[in-house]
Structures are given as C-alpha cells and as structure tokens.
Amino acid sequence: MENNKLSCSAVAAVKDICAAHNNDAGELINILHETQNTLGYLPQEVQQLVAKNLNIPASRVNGVVSFYAFFTEKPKGKHPISICLGTACYVRGSDKVLEEVKNVLGIEVGQTTPDGIFSLDCLRCVGACGLAPVMTIDGKVFGNVDPKDVRRILEDFV
C-alpha cells in the first residue's frame, strides 16, 4: 500500500530508531526527532510506521507531529532558510528581507522550491540581536542583511 513509497532503507532506519528507544511510546517525541534528523521530514507513511512500531494509534503520532512547529510533514529543501522575525530583527526590517526572499524564490513561508534546493521558514530570535536583521541558511547566520543582498547570498548556494 502507501508504505511502498518508502524505501527499504527508510523503513529499516525508522525501525532501528524505535528499537533503540525500546519501542516505548513514552519516547515518541525523541523518536520523531531522530527520525526527522535522519529522513529530513515526517511524511504520513513514516508516521504510520512509527505508530505501528510503538503499537499506538496513528492519530496520536499525527497529533504530536501536527502540534509542534519543529516537525515537518513536507520535505525541506537542501538548504533550509530561516528568517528571524523576533522584535529586534523585525524593527530593523526583517519583514522586508522576508519579502525579498519570497520574491526571489517564488515560494511562501513553509514551502520548498520546486527544484528542492531551498525551503523557507520563520523563527523568533537566534540570539544574535546585535546583528539584526538576521537570516540563517543551513544553520549559518547572516547578519545585517539588506534586502538588496538577498539575491547574492542565495546565489552562493545554487
């Protein structure tokens, strides 16, 4: 059925992660964390697989995945972008940076470019308010970003 969409290696990876946590339903969040780190995202089939391994209803796994913003059911791009919309960044114009990124990539927040290279998210504060406005790509921080710089920064990743 739907599980056919998952590669054998992915199925084995999920099984191993669950087993490493003794298939304990109380470890659900940790298991989902590790699974997302390994596979990049948590599609429906993976959630079903986790549910099956932990012997809990899929509705419970899906409830957790859909509640926490950290978990994603869609694949992230090769280079995930995050724009800080915390107070300091916001007052120094990160909303304009965000608009420019959306413009350049042609995607909305939470989406991934069709070529799978970039995905776009927002966050609140990376603890680098002195560099506001801040954006991160692959976890690397870019400070004092001017909307004019956005295209150049992104081109380095293509």
Binding site: M1, Q47, Q48, P57, A58, S59, N62, G63, S66, F67
Partner: protein, 587 residues
C-alpha cells in the same frame, strides 16, 4: 489501614475528604455544584476525563496566586476554597465568553439544541451578548458518515471524545490534530472518519457536550416512508430502548415504558409493531447451539475447535475485531446480531407468510446504538441490493419524532407488540445490559446440554458493572467458564489473552459500550451520571423477572419458526439467513 481524612472548607462549609479527592468532588459531596464542561466521570467505569482544558470550574483557593481548576486540583489539609467570589464569577464568565468567541451561534437549528451543555451554561451565566469576536472563524468541512456526523466548527476541544475513543475504547480513531485555531479532533492526517478504524460505537457522541458530534438523523426518511401508501413499514425495537426512552419524556431513569413505546410506534403509523427481543431469542438458539457444538467437539477431544467462542451481537465490537484483531476472525460466533436476524426473518419467513413483496416492505429498527445504522448497510446483509433492515433510528431520534408527532407519550395506554415477531422471553429482555447475552445463553445452553430444567434462571454472578467479570457454571459435571467485558478497552484485554494462549474461558460476551446497550451511543444522554446507567440496568432485570417465559428456547413463536421454516438451529437455511462472516479491515 484507616486513611487519614483531609479537612478543608468550601464556601465556609467544613468538609472532610479522602486523600486525593479533587476540589470538584469535595464540593459535590457537600452539595455545591461547580459548573464544568470538559469534565466527565462515570464512576465505577473507566470513563474519566478531566484535562482541565475548559477552565470553567476555576475556584479561588486562599493563599494561591491564581485561580485553581477544581476538577484537577487535589484537596489539601486546611485548604480554604471559595467557589462564588466576584473574582471567580468574573473569570468564569470571561472563560465562557472566550469559548463562545469561536463557537457558531446557530443554536436555533443545531441538532444538540436543548440538550447542549454549552448552551445550558450560557443560559445559566446569563450571557446575552458575545463581547469577543473570534480571532478566526473556523470553517472545517462537516463529515457525514452513515452513523456519526462530525462538525468540528462546533467543537470546544474538551477532549471527552478523545478520551472515550483512546483510553476507554482503545480504538484510537480520533485525536487532537494541529494547534491553536487550527486544532481539530480528527482521524490521523485529517482523513475521513469513514476511512479510519472507527467502530461507530458512538461513545464520542454520547459524551460530546455540544453539537460537534451527533448522529445521522433518519427521521425524515421514516416520515416519507410512513406517508407512502405503497409501502408496508414495520418496526423492531431493541431491549435497551424501553428502559431509557421514558427519560426523554420526563420519567425518572429506569422507568419501564414497553407498553407505551409499542403504543407510540403504532400511533406513528407503522403497519406492524414488532420487537427485536424476538430476534434476541432467535440469536440465543443459534449462538447457544454454536457454543454447544464447539463445546461438545472440544470435550470429544477435537484440538482444532475455536474456544472461547465470542458473542457477535454488537456491531461496534464486530468492527473492532475486524480492524484490530484480523488474525482472530474465526473465533467469534458467526451468528448475526438480533437486528439483522430480525430483518432477515421479516423479509423472508414473515413476508412470504403475509404475501408481501420484498421491495414493498420497509424494515425500520429503533436502537440504542449508532453502529446499528452502519451495520444494516453492510453489503452482506443485502439481497440484490435490498437491505434486510432498511435503516435504524436511535432512541433519541424516536423520542424526537414522538414529540414532533404531538403524541402525549406518558398518557398513552399500554399496547402489545404484534405477533409473531413481537413475542419474546425474559432472556431476550436482558440482552440490553452487559452480561445479559451470556445469562440468556446460559439458561438455554444449560438446559439443552444437560437435558435438565434449571431450578433458578438467574445467573446473578454474570451481572454487574465491573469492566471484566468472570463466572463458572456447573453444566452437570462440566465446569463452563465464562467471561464478560463491556467497553472495548476491556474487550481488548480478553482478546490479547486469547491471542497469547492464556485465556481460561469457554465463552466470552462483549459489548462495546459501558454498561452494555443501555449505555449505547444512541441513548438519551446521561451527562456523566452513572446512576442513570445503573437505573436502566435494574429496569432491564425487572423486565426479565416480570416475563412469564424466561428462556429463549421456550418462546412458542421461535419454536414455530423452526418448525415451519428453518428446521433446526444451524440448519442450512439458518446458516443462510442467520449467520454471517467477518472481514479483515486492518488495511
């Protein structure tokens, strides 16, 4: 060991309670009614939901900075609780106003109007305007299944349904999904309920305080059929209906209204008023014979015989094992439920006898159950697309229809069911309570197996409200061990024992709903009051005790049915008309 009591005051009244008691329960014990919305506790069963999510039960506790939710705060020594200070009243009002801020205001045409706990509280707190505009108005699609209607726009996220589905029934079809205004109680991945593991037991509907979960209403269809001169419309009514429907007309819980029920059905215009109890007696003949057949094979040394045998009257239970225990489909009895046996016999034996063509005959059932709506639509219960039972109404729907038809229910003169499909015994009457099917089966199985007459027909050891009960019965030298479970979570425990080869039983009765059918998803709402379930249960056993015949195999019209038509239990004809098979629904 004697437990030390905890002393506190609530609204200046001294109270002593056991350690661990919540403020809500302590207040209740001294007659103070703190409003609640999410909380529900059917004491004695495992139904207990107190997520403290609605915050309506907040009270002031001296020395505590914030207000405390009474349902989730344990009493402590010397605690001073106030339930009606200005601060509490203001907070409670604001909480309710906030809940109303994204709840639709279409009460006039809501299925739950008049029976809605949110509406009642709004009236009680005299909230007459909505000061907060919802941050966002939700617009979730309404899902209409054959049994249950889900309108998540009306959901207040009390989580009662989630508790029922997950903790009590262990079905896990629905759970909270998403966050903030986007939150719904839904099957995984936002799928349809109809595509989920849902058994249609309807316990989510039975506890929903608002109109978010309601039943598919078939009253309109019935009115059209009753008005159609080309149709013969007959009705069957389940054992649990007659001990509960009186509540809808102001009678105390546990009032038996069998005669008035039959009279009301006649007044509504049904051509024949029959009784599912007749089919319950028939079920005992078939299921009891199946039990004895397997038992005799087992006693003769057959190692392949499937024991324990499980009852199969409850359609939610059937759905449950088809979804969750597909490896065990050969264990339950193959006997159809009484509803389906009735339909099958009505549209063959009775229709032939009366000379009524199948297409002209409409069989309606009145059931305490929402899964019955689904059951009668199952493909295997149709002949050339024509269902044995055309559709099912819940107890609540029938009560509403009686009111709509301007029938003064309480003033009706008692009437009898029509013959032959209205004749029944006390054994059939108790089908509506947990343990009842087993007791009825024991009465018949004992006499058929031993050839002796029972001195006492009451098997009180199988009665009660404990989640799992067991008893052993001396079958003239053979010790028959029986188990009974109500609530699917309890059923799961017995099934897992069977799977692990640890089951000690020869026969097990399962009913999906707490208390059995008397606590079904289609019954008048109990609003969390366990005394109502107990009163209905007592009424069921009173009904049995008052019957002249109390053993299914002594029902003269059942005997006649076998003589004239079926031959004997488990005959080829019986198999074709009264038995079924089960399907793997795990994928």
């Amino acid at each position: 060991m004697e437990q030390k009591l905890i002393n506190l005051t609530i609204d200046n009244r001294p109270v002593s309670v056991e350690n661990g008691t919540t403020i809500l329960d302590a207040a209740k014990a001294c007659g103070i009614d703190i409003p609640t919305l999410c909380h529900i506790n059917l004491e004695g069963t495992c139904v207990n939901n107190h997520p403290a999510s609605c915050r309506l039960c907040v009270v002031e506790v001296a020395g505590r900075r914030n207000l405390a939710p009474a349902c989730a705060t344990a009493c402590t020594e010397g605690m001073e609780v106030h339930t009606n200070t200005i601060r509490v009243l203001n907070a409670r009002r604001t909480v309710l106003e906030l809940i109303l801020s994204n709840h639709p205001h279409d009460c006039l045409v809501c299925a739950k109007s008049g029976n809605c706990e949110l509406q009642n509280l709004t009236r009680k707190l005299k909230i007459q305007e909505a000061p907060y505009e919802g941050g966002e108005k939700s617009c979730f699609e309404v899902e209409k299944t054959v049994s249950i209607i889900r309108d998540m726009n009306k959901c207040i996220l009390c989580r009662r349904c989630e508790t029922m589905c997950n903790d009590v029934q262990t079905v896990g079809a629905i759970g909270a999904r998403g966050r903030g205004f986007e939150t719904t109680i839904s099957p995984a991945f936002g799928n349809k309920l109809a595509d989920s593991e849902c058994t249609y037991c309807g316990q989510c509907v039975a506890v929903c305080p608002v109109g978010a979960l309601t039943e598919k209403d078939n009253t309109g269809k019935l009115i059209r059929d009753l008005a159609n001169p080309n149709k013969v419309v007959i009705v069957q009514t389940a054992p649990a209906v007659r001990v509960a429907i009186g509540e809808e007309f102001g009678n105390p819980a546990g009032t038996i209204v069998t005669g008035k029920l039959a009279a009301a059905l006649r007044k509504l215009g049904f051509d024949y008023v029959f009784d599912t109890d007749f089919a319950a007696d028939l079920t005992i003949m078939e299921e009891g014979s199946e039990l004895l057949g397997r038992l005799n094979a087992f006693l003769a040394g057959d190692k392949n015989v499937h024991l324990p045998i499980l009852t199969s009257c409850c359609p939610a239970w059937v759905n449950f094992f088809e979804h969750q225990f597909p490896d065990m489909l050969n264990i339950p009895s193959t006997a159809r439920s009484p509803q389906q046996m009735f339909g099958s016999i009505a549209k063959t034996y009775w229709a032939e006898k009366m000379g009524i063509a199948r297409e002209k005959l409409i069989v309606v059932s009145v059931m305490p159950c929402l899964a019955k709506k689904y059951e009668c639509g199952r493909e295997e219960f149709k002949v050339n697309g024509n269902p044995d039972v055309d559709y099912s109404l819940s107890t609540r729907e029938l009560a509403a229809l009686i009111k709509e038809a301007n029938i003064d229910f309480n003033a009706l003169e008692d009437s009898d069911f029509d013959l032959p499909l209205g004749a029944s015994t006390g054994a059939a009457a108790i089908f509506g309570a947990t343990g009842g099917v087993m007791e009825a089966a024991l009465r018949t199985a004992y006499e058929l197996h031993t050839g002796k007459t029972l001195g006492k027909v009451d098997f009180t050891e199988v009665r009660g409200l404990e989640g799992i009960r067991k008893a052993s019965v001396d079958m003239d030298g053979f010790e028959l061990k029986v188990g009974i479970a109500h609530g699917l979570g309890n059923a799961r425990k017995l099934l897992e024992d069977i799977r692990a080869g640890k089951s000690e039983f020869h026969a097990i009765e399962i009913m999906a709903c707490p208390g059995g059918c008397i606590g079904g998803g289609g019954q008048p709402l109990h609003h969390g009051n366990i005394e109502i379930i107990k009163a209905r249960s007592n009424a069921i056993y009173r009904e049995d005790a008052g019957k002249p015949i109390r053993k299914s195999h002594e029902n003269p019209y059942i005997k006649q049915l076998y003589e004239e038509y079926l031959g004997k239990p488990l005959s080829e004809k019986s198999h074709a008309l009264l038995h079924t098979k089960y399907f793997d629904k795990s994928e």
